[in-house]
């Protein structure tokens, strides 16, 4: 509990690629559908993690507002 797990930017980029491969989407189209609220089940999970990865990488985080 409360363990700090450090990672690298390279590992996060690889995780992002694997996530997108798993859901069979590119990030732009996934986020475009998120903006419309039109995601399938597992895509919601993927988007959550993509946002966290973007944040850790210091990229602008997008939101499915």
């Amino acid at each position: 509990m409360g363990e700090i797990r450090t990672t690298t930017s390279e590992a996060l980029v690889a995780e992002r690629a694997e996530l997108l491969r798993t859901v069979g989407r590119d990030e732009a189209s996934l986020r475009a559908d998120a903006a419309l609220g039109a995601l399938a089940g597992d895509e919601w999970y993927a988007l959550e993690r993509l946002d966290a990865i973007a944040f850790l990488l210091g990229e602008p985080a997008f939101v499915a507002a």
Binding site: M1, I4, S9, F55, L57, G58, V63
Partner: protein, 238 residues
């Protein structure tokens, strides 16, 4: 990443983990993820192998849904303190893995309320209203067929609900299983949260706080080394 900041993030995770473990059965551990050399942190439930975990929501021992919790920590504007800049909480059904409802907070939110609920449900009469409104105000109502596109505002940055409110909601209103004694933990955590928020508001509005204390009989002496400034932006944003 300084040790001090990392330790604060770890304390944050430990506190959340203890709250979840004391309220919802089978709650996973809560850990911190960070990139070497940076002062941003993700706090969320995780499995022993470090992968993302979700909190199971059980009814009579059967898992029917799960709760996702992700907290984003970043430096505040002074570059000194860790600040919770975003929180994403969502309940997912095991039936279709679509969100049932979401409770989100983003300090930098521009268009939607800084803190809001979203419900992934439908109601014909509301859809009718939204459809009619869209004809006149298409920018305000972009997707009249989706109730989940509405952001129900809930108190802004300072007065938003805490995780304990969400926990009590799923236990008392949704009827999920709870750990015996959960209510005391939730009440204590909520009080802790509100005291922290109160201190922040007092810092934002020092003159207002001083005037209130004077009215209550206190003698308050303003600091001589700085002018009084007020930061009410968080109070006016929705």
């Amino acid at each position: 990443m300084t040790d001090e900041l990392a330790n604060k993030a770890a304390d944050f995770a430990r506190e959340l983990g203890e709250t979840l473990a004391a309220t919802l059965p089978q709650a996973p551990s809560v850990d911190v993820q960070a990139v070497n050399g940076q002062n941003t942190f993700i706090v969320q439930p995780s499995n022993p192998d470090g992968t993302v975990a979700r909190v199971p929501l059980l009814v009579n021992g059967a898992k029917l849904a799960e709760l996702s919790i992700v907290l984003y920590l970043d430096m505040d504007w002074t570059g000194t303190f860790l600040k919770n800049v975003r929180t994403d909480c969502a309940a997912y059904s095991v039936l279709d893995r679509q969100p049932l409802f979401r409770m989100d907070y983003r300090a930098d939110m521009q268009s939607a309320p800084v803190a809001h609920w979203q419900f992934h449900a439908e109601r014909g009469a509301l859809t009718h209203l939204l459809s009619m409104a869209q004809a006149h105000r298409p920018k305000a109502v972009e997707s009249p067929h989706m109730l989940s596109r509405l952001h129900f505002p809930m108190g802004g940055e300072r007065f938003r609900p805490c995780i304990e409110d969400l926990i009590q909601f799923v236990i008392e209103e949704c009827g999920v299983d709870a750990v015996p004694g959960w209510d005391r933990v939730v009440q204590a955590g909520r009080e802790r949260w509100r005291r922290i928020q109160l201190r922040t508001v007092v810092r934002d509005l020092q003159l207002e706080a001083a005037e209130t204390l004077v009215r209550e009989g206190w003698t308050v002496t303003p600091p001589s080394n700085k002018g009084l400034t007020e930061s009410a932006a968080t109070l006016s944003r929705w």
